[in-house]
């Protein structure tokens, strides 16, 4: 009896307890020979035959390999398009940063900020490609040797802004500032910890910003989108920069003065005028290094999805239905994990629970409403097999459609297999989420950004956040239903045939 048949016969719990991670029933014959690594070949070929038999005799779901390949190709096409647009908008951001550094005017600072906001529009939609061994998290399709992808240098959060530049201190965010003027070695003991901008001996280059993937505990996050965000906006202290109480904060974002980039004697660090322009020059250099590294990291991810690239080939080249189902399961795992655990839980619920104003994804720019929208939109894109491009005018509608994809989605496949009800239920769940994240977006655009919505988790203002969390969890359940309906949930379906001299999940095999 194949795993797939078990799923459909309702013995899900027995499967989970008895067989998950195992070679299933067919391996009892070779258990005495536990060190025989060639048994992997046997157990690979065995279930396929059985599966075919079951499909024929049991009247179970009949998969279509060609259509499954279309689902995978579309998923890869959207990834390549999304990351291509991410690279393109990051390059535009680089142009505006160069202009700001060359000529630090209010207009150029505003242009750079707008370019940063635009750069988030395509990238946010790509986050559904996380939580599976795709190039953003894993360079070689094998998490067994650690997740070594560049995500940590691209989009990690929370930022260690105190390691980068001056910050305000104190629980009330009074007018103390740390690291503003401390240029020389300490004369007082103790002294405050210094930061990169104000430590002229620190060489600002890509190597400084990189957090090596094998030592994720190396240093605070100082690279990626949010480092650039911090340098463009500064800390979000609101109108008078002096308060952190609920009553005294307003709905504006960070207000770093453009003089923080002045390369002459008007150079400031916030409210402090510096004796020389070095901190301002270093701020500009930091921005340039950070955006160059961001582009390079994004290009690496994009290239993994390009036609003919190793990763894309490994993802889309499937020789049989079981292999294709395994890849489809990867897509669904990414969709479900982003919906529930990551976006609803680790990004939204925690910000509500913490009751901390800046405990949000894009806290310097007050752009978290877009993060929520775009992350959720990415899940919807994966379901529908469509990518509508991105919004370069920041009005909420996608106008940059040069790389748009209108492909063969999971919904199409469900429909073609006669699982219209499953497709409709999932579409309805995604639509509810869309309504709810739309309300978060509307609230922010109307003057109540996420950092104000989350101040009181029980308040009316937080209702769209709460609704979105609930609907994201509900849509995750629908994604699970798709996996069950398509019978893709077996771990044996996602075995990488090239891997494994040793099955770490099998207690009878010594690794």
């Amino acid at each position: 009896m194949s795993i797939a048949a078990r799923w459909s016969s309702g013995l899900l719990l027995s499967l989970s307890i008895g067989l998950i991670g195992c070679g299933s029933d067919d391996t009892s014959a070779d258990t005495e020979n536990t060190s025989d690594t060639t048994s992997e070949t046997d157990s690979d070929s065995g279930p396929e035959t059985e599966s075919d038999t079951d499909t024929d005799s049991g009247g179970a779901l009949e998969h279509d390999l060609d259509l499954l390949r279309q689902v995978l190709e579309t998923n890869a096409d959207i990834a390549f398009a999304g990351y291509s647009d991410s690279v393109a908008t990051a390059v535009l951001l680089q142009t505006t940063i160069d202009a700001l550094v060359a000529d630090p005017t209010e207009a150029n600072l505003e242009a750079a900020r707008e370019a940063w906001l635009v750069s988030r529009e395509p990238y946010g939609q790509t986050e559904v490609y996380r939580f599976r061994a795709s190039p953003i998290d894993d360079s070689n399709y094998d998490a067994g040797d650690g997740e070594d992808g560049p995500e940590g240098d691209i989009n990690a959060w929370p930022l260690g802004e105190g390691l980068i530049d001056y910050v305000v201190t104190g629980t009330d965010f009074g007018d103390d500032q740390v690291g503003v003027t401390d240029h020389s070695t300490g004369v007082n003991d103790p002294i405050p910890d210094n930061n990169i901008i104000n430590s002229p001996n620190i060489v600002i280059d890509a190597a400084l910003l990189a957090n090596t993937a094998t030592a994720d505990d190396e240093h605070d996050v100082i690279a990626g989108y949010h480092a650039i965000e911090f340098l463009l906006w500064g800390q979000d202290l609101n109108a008078d920069g002096s308060a952190d109480t609920v009553d005294s904060r307003d709905s504006t974002a960070g207000r770093r003065p453009v003089t923080d980039f002045a390369s002459d004697d008007t150079c400031t660090s916030g409210e402090t005028v510096n004796a020389d322009p070095d901190p301002c020059n270093r701020r500009g250099l930091y921005l340039q290094v950070a955006v160059a590294k961001l582009i390079a990291d994004l290009e690496g991810v994009r290239d993994g999805w390009a036609a003919g690239a190793d990763y894309r080939a490994a993802f889309t080249t499937v020789d049989d239905v079981d292999a294709a189902k395994g890849k489809l399961l990867e897509i669904l795992v990414g969709m479900g994990t982003l919906s529930e655990g990551e976006l609803a839980g680790e990004r939204m619920q925690i910000s509500l629970s913490a009751n901390s104003q800046e405990d949000e994804h894009s806290c310097f720019s007050d752009n978290t409403h877009r993060d929520i929208w775009l992350n959720a939109e990415g899940v919807s894109n994966a379901f529908r097999g469509e990518y509508a491009g991105y919004d370069s005018t920041l009005d909420g509608s996608d106008n940059q459609t040069g790389n748009a994809v209108d492909g063969y989605g999971i919904d199409d496949y469900l429909t073609d297999l006669g699982l219209t009800d499953v497709a409709d239920d999932a579409a309805a769940a995604l639509a509810t989420t869309e309504t709810n994240y739309g309300a978060v977006d509307s609230s922010a655009r109307a003057g109540t950004p996420v950092d104000q919505m989350i101040l009181d988790a029980g308040a009316d203002a937080a209702q769209p956040m709460r609704d979105t969390i609930v609907s994201l969890n509900a849509q995750s359940a629908q994604v699970a239903s798709i996996a069950v309906a398509l019978e893709v949930g077996s771990p044996d379906d996602v075995v990488d045939p090239d891997a494994s001299e040793c099955d770490t999940m099998d207690p009878t095999v010594e690794c």
């Binding site: 195992c22 930061n195 400084l208 605070d220 795992v333 901390s356 690794c511």
Partner: protein, 496 residues
């Protein structure tokens, strides 16, 4: 190391993805617990965490929500998980629910060491050994019989600091600021020496023991009689269920003076609860030196990450570390970096982690191993089964039939594993029986597996062979088995 884990390449989530559908399915017939029928699933421990037992899916993880957690509980779980996963950063920052790391610390997040919620990776001879920490103590015991801290370095060596020069170590120009900021306490490295073990049948096994290499003392050399003890990151699986076991059940199994003469004592540790300000039974930690998950979590926040909380409100600095004391904190208006709400969220997350299912429990090799496990007497300390009590805050953990394979008591494990550190009632040779939940999944979490208190055992077989003291008779019985039987017994443990 490539190709080790062909089923591990999907990260997180498939369990929660499918849990809801799983719950809606009718329970298989055999799942109905019936203690009168020894072949039922419950009686054989096929669901080691009772109803919390998760579906493992293609990506094994020990930080999945208990399978029976409701929607509100799951949301709370993921909120706590964010705090345990995402890195804490040095203060001050605007995200004041996330700052306050250090100034001295060991790691910046819980899961940096508890990788995927499991045991930490063993130290790489060339690396910093993040998942093993160093406890310090002076001879004797303090007013509550607790270990006496070193006057300069405190109770734990912190090899990291938030100082710029340390954060950016190795980067061009960073060294020139080495005199500024808070110095690390010491650089910690471990090396390994090998020694052979011979089975009666002549088979040999190479064991390894760790050697601690401390350098770059930030505050002067360590006092000569300050003792350093290694502590390897244990698994988080099932700690909430353990908390709900009635103390009376553990006391009943205890035999501190070995009155039954079986050579096995089993002692309950009595430890200081800093919140209740009283002595309480200990059951968490490698020496059962923590009274509750809450105190354990708060202790790790304080000692490992330098985060103050209502349980441990102080910064990780001694009076002889003035820069550490003077560094900016992430304290809120009430004086905590981790206020009560955040601490409660992290405790709820830790308590509510689901227990992994058995793998291939019906395999003949595993079944044979289970019988050998029993006849060798392993279960005398690795008590298979407990039943949890009722806690209104944790209905999903209440009245569960659980199979941790531990009595949670202290046992003398002999001189070879001893590190001499006395910890409340625990002697320098005593260790708490560790639960075996997920022991066989260690290799699926990361490539460098480390069992026992200092991570010295690379395999379950090595861990068994290290057993001595009260476990000597069982170890001898194991060693006298034939190679096939030894493999069967190990396969059983790996199936847990």
């Amino acid at each position: 190391m490539n190709g080790v884990a062909h089923r591990v390449f999907l990260s997180l989530g498939v369990v929660s993805l499918f849990a809801c559908s799983a719950r809606s399915e009718p329970a298989p017939e055999w799942e109905v617990a019936n203690d009168q029928t020894p072949r039922t699933a419950a009686a054989r421990g096929l669901r080691p965490g009772g109803d919390t037992t998760v579906l493992l899916g293609p990506s094994p993880s020990l930080v999945l929500p208990a399978a029976n957690l409701d929607d509100a509980g799951k949301a709370a779980f993921y909120a706590g998980k964010a705090l345990a996963t995402q890195p804490w950063v040095r203060a001050p920052t605007l995200t004041d629910a996330r700052d306050g790391l250090g100034p001295l610390y060991h790691a910046r997040s819980c899961l940096a060491c508890h990788v995927k919620g499991g045991r930490g990776p063993a130290s790489d001879p060339n690396g910093p050994g993040l998942a093993t920490l160093v406890r310090l103590s002076r001879p004797g015991r303090g007013p509550h019989t607790e270990p006496i801290p070193d006057p300069v370095y405190g109770t734990q060596l912190q090899p990291q600091s938030t100082a710029l020069s340390h954060q950016l170590r190795g980067r061009a120009g960073a060294d020139s600021y080495a005199d500024q900021g808070v110095a690390i306490e010491a650089n910690v490295r471990m090396s390994w020496t090998s020694q052979p073990f011979a089975y009666p049948d002549g088979t040999t096994l190479a064991l390894q023991t760790p050697k601690l290499e401390l350098s770059q003392w930030g505050y002067g050399p360590l006092e000569e009689d300050t003792r350093a003890a290694l502590r390897h990151t244990p698994s988080l699986a099932g700690v909430g269920l353990i908390e709900l076991i009635a103390q009376a059940d553990l006391e009943r199994a205890a035999d501190p003076d070995d009155r039954d003469g079986d050579g096995i004592s089993g002692r309950v540790n009595r430890v200081w609860d800093p919140e209740m300000r009283t002595m309480r039974p200990g059951r968490f930690g490698l020496k059962a030196n923590q009274p509750s998950v809450r105190v354990q979590v708060a202790g790790a926040l304080s000692g490992d990450m330098g985060l103050s909380s209502p349980v441990f409100p102080d910064q990780p600095c001694t009076a002889l570390q003035p820069r550490c004391l003077a560094a900016p904190t992430g304290n809120d208006a009430e004086g905590f970096e981790v206020p009560e709400s955040i601490l409660a969220s992290m405790v709820f997350f830790t308590m509510s982690i689901g227990v992994p299912p058995r793998r291939r429990p019906d395999d003949p090799l595993v079944m044979r191993g289970q019988g050998l496990f029993d006849t060798a007497g392993c279960g005398d300390c690795h008590t298979p089964r407990h039943v949890t009590g009722v806690d209104d805050q944790y209905p999903h953990l209440s009245e569960q039939d659980i199979w941790p394979y531990s009595d949670l008591l202290l046992h003398d494990m002999g001189p070879h594993l001893a590190d001499g550190r006395e910890d409340f009632l625990a002697t320098g040779q005593e260790w708490r029986t560790p639960p075996l939940w997920g022991a066989g999944l260690a290799r699926a979490m990361h490539a460098r597996v480390g069992f026992l208190h200092d991570g010295r055992a690379r395999t379950i077989e090595e861990a068994i062979v290290w057993h001595d003291g009260e476990a000597l008779a069982s170890r001898v019985r194991y060693a006298e088995l034939g190679a096939d039987d030894r493999r069967a017994l190990v396969a059983f443990v790996r199936s847990l």
